[in-house]
């Protein structure tokens, strides 16, 4: 039998699948780092159930000769930890998918021959090492072996990774990794498998991070020195990131008793001069809406990281969706402007989160960063993120005795003082108020204050991130996306490979950039691709531009699009 050749295009999709608690996450952490520092480009993403143990989760790691940043349906190498895991991804197994695992373990009733299965009995090896809990490290070793990672490097890495554990646990993991590694080398030497992918020393020193890291870094760059939140998947990762780096960067980190407290703390903090972030997800955010209105009224800046997951209500807590665009857009009662940023890449997340702080501060509005579970949990390597040019611009003034918090200025933006900085007094009021911030029932002043608040929209519109056009300028077909679908749509267009299709990606959806309608009009066919069931962004475009996009490509099963899926669905309409 000739060897199974995987990765003909220099790009291999490895999928690991097992129960929560079986340590797939550890494998992911070990492998993405190890493979990247061995010179492979890496993309990692996972889908998992809302439980701590059991169920079936899977992680995809694309290992590639060139940069890869999006999920694919294709599985080149599948490592299922047990039969249930195999069942879980059954639908994605193709004739050329190589399944690596113990044949007897995975096919107790036989039938392995229907598949392209190479026998490496992971759980048997693990029990030789010391128990089922080492299976994940055995698996890591196998993959490291398949990709010809340096044996010593693997050993060092595993030793360091488990550095906090007991001596014997470290040893056993090293042993497990080594055995997996050797088993892999053996199947290569036996001519069972050949991987067609090459390492590139350039990426060895790349940055490897996920969306949560990127938002966290952007926040710190934006001067975030206060975060009050209540845990909620998938937003907690940013809270954890900031807590982890809190001592280092002087950040007040507080887990509030509920989301209402978190958001009101955020406003209190900004009022007193901090630059505060709140990180939450749909249901938790719903509880913050009254305070979003308060922010609108008192014109206190706020930055909200809203990591979307499928709703309504609790929905699918650990899955992904782009379903909260309208929620963010119309949140809070009453009328006031806001900013909604929707990063597509990790760089976007860093720069836009940084931007959120500066713009929130400048315009005294709430700036949202809208991400989702997929974005939070996905990793890839990139050469660099340059933070050296980023500045934290504090838009506060030292007050004097004549200070008026709501001075009716030309552009609606009143200089923002904070208590204890200067000799003036700073009064903010959730009731309609006069220029001094005191409660008023003067109905002409009411009009002036509404106009003042809404006037800021004009300034915001002039300071909007333009959409990014990927592809040629003279397209006849335009795919439109926002937020986390950036890379997947981009790659899909490459796969389709037609030069009359371009892709317009929105990194800011509110205010919508002025150029939008021009882009749309130039196309013969337009299609919005988004992760919800009703086409919320398509609605927004219609509302703001009057333009009815021709096609709404929607997905709402809780998973991100794959490249093949976008290719397939776009192909149908072009």
């Amino acid at each position: 039998m000739p060897p199974a050749v995987v990765g003909k295009n220099g790009d291999i999709s490895v999928v690991l699948c097992g129960e929560a608690g079986q340590g797939i996450q550890t494998v992911e952490q070990i492998l993405t780092q190890l493979l990247k520092s061995s010179g492979y480009s890496i993309f990692g993403t996972k889908e998992y159930m809302s439980r701590v143990r059991g169920g079936s989760n899977s992680t995809q790691i694309r290992v590639s000769s060139h940069r890869v940043c999006s999920p694919v349906d294709r599985i080149d190498i599948l490592i299922p930890f047990d039969t249930k895991a195999l069942e879980h991804v059954r639908g994605r197994i193709r004739a050329d998918t190589v399944i690596i695992g113990g044949k007897k373990e995975l096919f107790p009733a036989g039938g392995a021959d229907h598949f392209n299965c190479i026998d490496i009995p992971l759980s048997e090896i693990a029990s030789q090492v010391g128990g089922a809990m080492y299976m994940n490290t055995v698996g890591s070793g196998v993959i490291a072996g398949l990709f010809s990672v340096d044996r010593q490097r693997l050993d060092d890495f595993v030793a360091a990774f488990f550095g906090d554990s007991s001596e014997s646990v470290i040893e056993k993991n090293r042993d497990a990794a080594a055995r997996g590694y050797d088993a892999a080398i053996k199947i290569i030497e036996d001519g069972r498998i050949r991987l067609d992918v090459s390492a590139n020393p350039e990426v060895e020193n790349d940055i490897l991070m996920n969306g949560a890291d990127a938002v966290g870094i952007g926040a710190i760059a934006g001067g975030c020195d206060f975060v009050a939140s209540y845990p909620m998947s998938p937003s907690t990762a940013v809270l954890v990131f900031l807590a982890f780096h809190g001592d280092e960067f002087g950040i007040v980190v507080e887990q509030a008793e509920d989301e209402i407290a978190a958001m009101n703390m955020t406003l209190g903090a900004w009022y007193a001069g901090a630059r505060a972030l709140v990180t939450t997800s749909g249901g938790g955010f719903a509880l913050m809406e009254e305070a979003v209105g308060l922010a609108g009224m008192i014109e206190t800046p706020a930055v909200i990281h809203l990591a979307q997951r499928p709703g309504p209500a609790t929905g699918l807590p650990t899955r992904t969706e782009q379903g909260d665009l309208q929620l963010a857009m119309y949140s809070g009662h009453g009328e006031f402007p806001r900013i909604i940023l929707t990063p597509g890449s990790l760089e976007d997340a860093v720069y836009l989160t940084h931007r959120a702080f500066n713009r929130a501060d400048k315009y005294q509005v709430t700036a949202f960063i809208l991400t989702d579970q997929y974005f939070m949990d996905s990793y890839y390597n990139l050469p660099s993120v340059d933070v050296s040019g980023l500045r934290t611009v504090r838009h506060i003034v030292e007050t004097d005795e004549t200070y008026q918090r709501y001075f009716l200025s030309e552009d609606g933006i009143s200089p923002r003082g904070i208590p204890g900085f200067g000799t003036g007094l700073v009064a903010v009021d959730s009731d309609e108020h006069d220029e001094n911030g005191h409660i008023t029932e003067d109905l002409d002043l009411r009009i002036a204050m509404v106009d003042k608040r809404l006037k800021k929209s004009a300034a915001l519109e002039n300071d909007t991130v333009p959409p990014e056009l990927i592809g040629k300028d003279d397209y006849s077909i335009l795919a439109v996306g926002w937020g986390s679908t950036y890379h997947v749509i981009k790659e899909a267009l490459t796969v389709i490979g037609r030069d009359d299709i371009s892709f317009l990606h929105f990194k800011q959806v509110c205010p919508l950039h002025r150029s939008t309608v021009e882009y749309l009009k130039r196309a013969r066919v337009t299609a919005v691709v988004e992760g919800n069931a009703t086409g919320q962004f398509a609605n927004l475009i219609k509302l703001r531009t009057g333009f009815d996009v021709h096609h709404r490509i929607l997905k709402y099963n809780g998973l991100q699009y794959t490249v093949e899926e976008v290719v397939g669905r776009l192909s149908k309409i072009i």
């Binding site: 760059a221 209402i260 009101n264 703390m265 209190g268 933070v387 007094l425 903010v428």
Partner: protein, 288 residues
Amino acid sequence: MKQGPFDRGAIDIAWCPGCGNFAILNALKAALTQLGISPEQIVIASGIGQAAKMPHYVRTNVFNGLHGRAIPAATAIKAANPGLTVIAEGGDGDMYGEGGNHFIHAIRRNPDITAIIHNNMVYGLTKGQASPTSSLGFKTPVQVGGVTEEPFNAMAVAIALNASFVARAFAGDVDQTRDIIKAAISHRGFSIVEILQPCVSFNKVNTFQWFKENSGYVEDSYDPSDRSAAFNRAAEGGKMALGICYVNSERSCFEETLSPYSEDSTPLFKRDVDMAKLARLVDSKRQA
């Protein structure tokens, strides 16, 4: 009339003539004056209600936020700038009803702020519905058959949660109220001052006279550090205890536990991001 440092001059005060809130306003201004804190260094955060209008009548910084949410805002203000003196103020509905969760968790968190709660045993601003402290049987347009829910005993709850400072005052006695507020502000940690306040418009049961007859100061020999005794006093029927009911000086306060202040008391707004350090953090993502 001589203008004190906290007087706002000839402003229109939206309270009813005869309302107990006027006395509380006077007591608060007197307390702040006697403590000698300058107005720019004070923030009064409040919710919504008649009591919560208070900060508009004091010459100082104001954060008049949402109904029930004064405490989280005040907590964060203090945490962002521990040099400020921060007061959270509101009514019984505001603090114990809508804001009940923040009340109990602030006791656990123990920020160095003072919560002043005007207890008129009714919702004043919304025109006379029952509040969490309304008496059993109290009739209102909503509670047509009279209140059936056990009144919220904030003092007992605070003691149960081992609060840092728990006191009760009566608006009818401005001097003692002033002194209690002074003690509360001076205390390091979360200080609760519930003030019995007659509402002349909507509470015809718990009047000035009623409060007078149904409350009394703790005796001189009373030991506010005895938690069990304090609980018994708070829980027992009969006259409501006035004075400093419970003090626990052993707890560290919230801001002290925050790492940004472990070595440096600079308020957050005066700090800059260390961009070089951030660049190093980014670089750390190059290796595992």
